[in-house]
């Protein structure tokens, strides 16, 4: 993956496939303590202990179209490459939570990428899932949720092609406020 936003897009697909109805994403960027932390949690079907242990193995996947599953292993690798950490926790029937922590100043730390576009794309592609996305930059935060978008747009379909660019602009202008773009 070329940037962190692509990892977000990728890892959230796991929650979608696990039939999650509620997905929470937190992106915490801290320049003083030099880290970027991505946390995703969902209320999907979860994994049992056995599968959870194998899930970071690239040859573990629930797919039938191919034999490898690289989403989680790649995220883990990229986090650990910077001296960061990765953890994942899950309970069948309850949901899954994962956390990847990157050391920001490390030369291998990924650029953030198009965070706003990714959040908008996810929210507009899966309008039936309740997303709550929190972006924190040095304790200034911006929170966006599916329910508040739905309320503001008063029942307009979120997955309509003309809605996506507007939602994207809304999220991006708020992220600009956090000066996220200057962080690279």
């Amino acid at each position: 993956m070329k940037d962190l936003s692509l990892h977000i897009l990728d890892i959230v697909q796991n929650s979608v496939v696990a039939n999650a109805k509620v997905i929470q994403i937190t992106l915490d960027i801290n320049t003083t303590n030099d880290y970027i932390e991505l946390a995703v949690s969902d209320n999907g079907k979860g994994m049992d202990k056995d599968f959870l242990q194998r899930v970071v193995d690239p040859f573990t996947t629930t797919r039938t179209t191919r034999k490898v599953g690289l989403g989680i292993p790649l995220l883990k690798q990229n986090a650990e490459l910077t001296g960061g950490t990765f953890s994942i926790d899950s309970e069948p029937g309850v949901g899954t939570a994962l956390k990847a922590r990157f050391v920001r100043s490390h030369i291998d730390c990924l650029p953030l990428g198009d965070i706003g576009g990714t959040i908008a794309l996810l929210m507009c592609s899966y309008p039936e899932i309740e997303f709550t996305v929190k972006t924190v930059v040095n304790s200034h935060e911006f929170l966006v949720s599916t329910s508040e978008l739905r309320e503001a747009l008063e029942g307009l379909p979120l997955n309509d092609p003309s809605v996506y660019p507007v939602v994207k602009e809304y999220i991006n202008s708020n992220l600009d406020e956090l000066q996220i773009t200057n962080l690279g």
Partner: protein, 132 residues
């Protein structure tokens, strides 16, 4: 366009959006729309499917083509990512491989607008008699 910055701004945009949606919905029923699926599993995303999806969403809107663009999982053509599946009304779906924004442009202009086949189609398996 004024900047959309708060939820109130978003609310103000509602009417403009509603008008656009009405126009589209009056036009056609779902099965008469062009349906595009972008493969967006790890393999697709890593090869740049998101750029392609953004491009398609933006350009189809700009060029006034009624289309639904959705994400899908891996179709098993990881070697040819990013792949997209295009279903024109009353036609069988066609899967294109190695789609970058340039290819996507060609697909819109030639395949979607004129129905000409362009390079890069991934052939689907033949249906055997047993399956019929």
């Amino acid at each position: 366009m004024t900047k959309v910055k708060s939820l109130a701004d978003l609310k103000k945009m509602k009417e403009t959006l509603q008008a656009k949606i009405d126009l589209r919905e009056k036009g056609e029923a779902a099965e008469n729309l062009v349906q595009i699926k972008v493969a967006m599993a790890t393999c697709g995303i890593a090869s740049g499917a998101k750029n392609v999806m953004d491009f398609l969403l933006e350009e189809l809107e700009k060029r006034g083509i009624n289309a639904v663009v959705t994400q899908t999982g891996c179709m098993g053509y990881c070697y040819a990512e990013p792949t997209i599946e295009v279903k024109l009304p009353n036609a069988d779906p066609v899967v294109f491989g190695y789609v970058d924004t340039k290819k996507a442009d060609e697909i819109i202009e030639r395949y979607i607008k004129n129905g000409e086949l362009v390079d890069g189609i991934i052939p689907v398996n033949y249906e055997s008699i047993d399956n019929k």
